[in-house]
Point group: C2
Amino acid sequence: MSEFKLIKVKEGILSENDKKASDLRQKLKSENKYLINLMASPGAGKTSSILKIAQNLNKDIRLAVIEADIDSSVDAEKMAENNIPTVQLSTGGFCHLDAEMVIQGLEEVVKENPDLIIIENVGNLVCPAEFDTGAHSNIMILSVPEGDDKPLKYPLIFSVCELLIVNKTDMIELTDFNLEELEKRAKKVNPKIEIIPVSAKTGKGFEKVASWIEQKIQKIRG
Amino acid sequence: MSEFKLIKVKEGILSENDKKASDLRQKLKSENKYLINLMASPGAGKTSSILKIAQNLNKDIRLAVIEADIDSSVDAEKMAENNIPTVQLSTGGFCHLDAEMVIQGLEEVVKENPDLIIIENVGNLVCPAEFDTGAHSNIMILSVPEGDDKPLKYPLIFSVCELLIVNKTDMIELTDFNLEELEKRAKKVNPKIEIIPVSAKTGKGFEKVASWIEQKIQKIRG
């Protein structure tokens, strides 16, 4: 028997994910819900940044959070302590979230009727960037101690994000991090990327991040 | 036609990798070559730590480096500037190294007849931990700004490493990082893990890391 069927597994799964992600984006738009996918390295400050965003957002905006973690719930606990409706997705070893996992998480948090949902993706600069989660905006955090050369080394994640939050700027004096060099390198990969330096420790810069998000929410509501 | 063949693709590939990795480990041992797989988050200080290890190693030990990077060669350039024989593996979007990729890298660096080869894996705490590279020892670096909660969140990588290097201890005063808490959490996941705090900026602690490695090399030579 010389006949055989060639199945491009990865491509199949990816295009199926793209369809699900696109449908989810449309559905949430029709419900006036804005979905943000937040990505970063481990320890770049995703959780503490979400808490600072929550403090700076207009009080009329109801926020909910989807926490992705391989094997713990420490971040979801921090959200709960701050009275932010949260669901914990345990990825069970998975290195990223896809649209189907986000849909499962949303089933829980939509009960709170949020205007804004932030997904805290798995801490990883590689795999999460490859999967459309259905979010309206991708945002990434790069922290100063990680270095200003990261757009050279992980170009995909910089290319899929609309906003780059540069965190831990309070540590900049202790490092050789050059913000101008970072901006040049990030914009070479993605000329449209916007950059906001912040410190989740002092809170500096988060009024700008909150305002950026509020404008996006306004825009989707047309 | 109701017959079909079930192929467990991932399992197949993983066990094939395990076989290759095991064979590679044996072969290198018989040649008195020690292979270390170094893993960490992006920006934790893998490259600068390798440079400090090189400075602290006994001068009789010939070191070579295999650099893995998705899309750049900045780290390999730094090694070359320091006269360390290096090969750059471009993973082309891959989030980890496997034994076959390491074998390809070794073909180049063994020309220098090294006693010690260090693989700088892709910056990622998730995927690299899942693949045996054929190394005799796995070492990971966690940097202080990443936080002391990482063993809770990325347990696999802590469980497969013999040595945990805690880098950027010069920044500890600026953070709420608790070294004792980290040790407790890491040893809960892996009771045998050894921990050495260092600063790649000041060089502090790298004499201990170099000595740890030298003992491993002695041991394999029996």
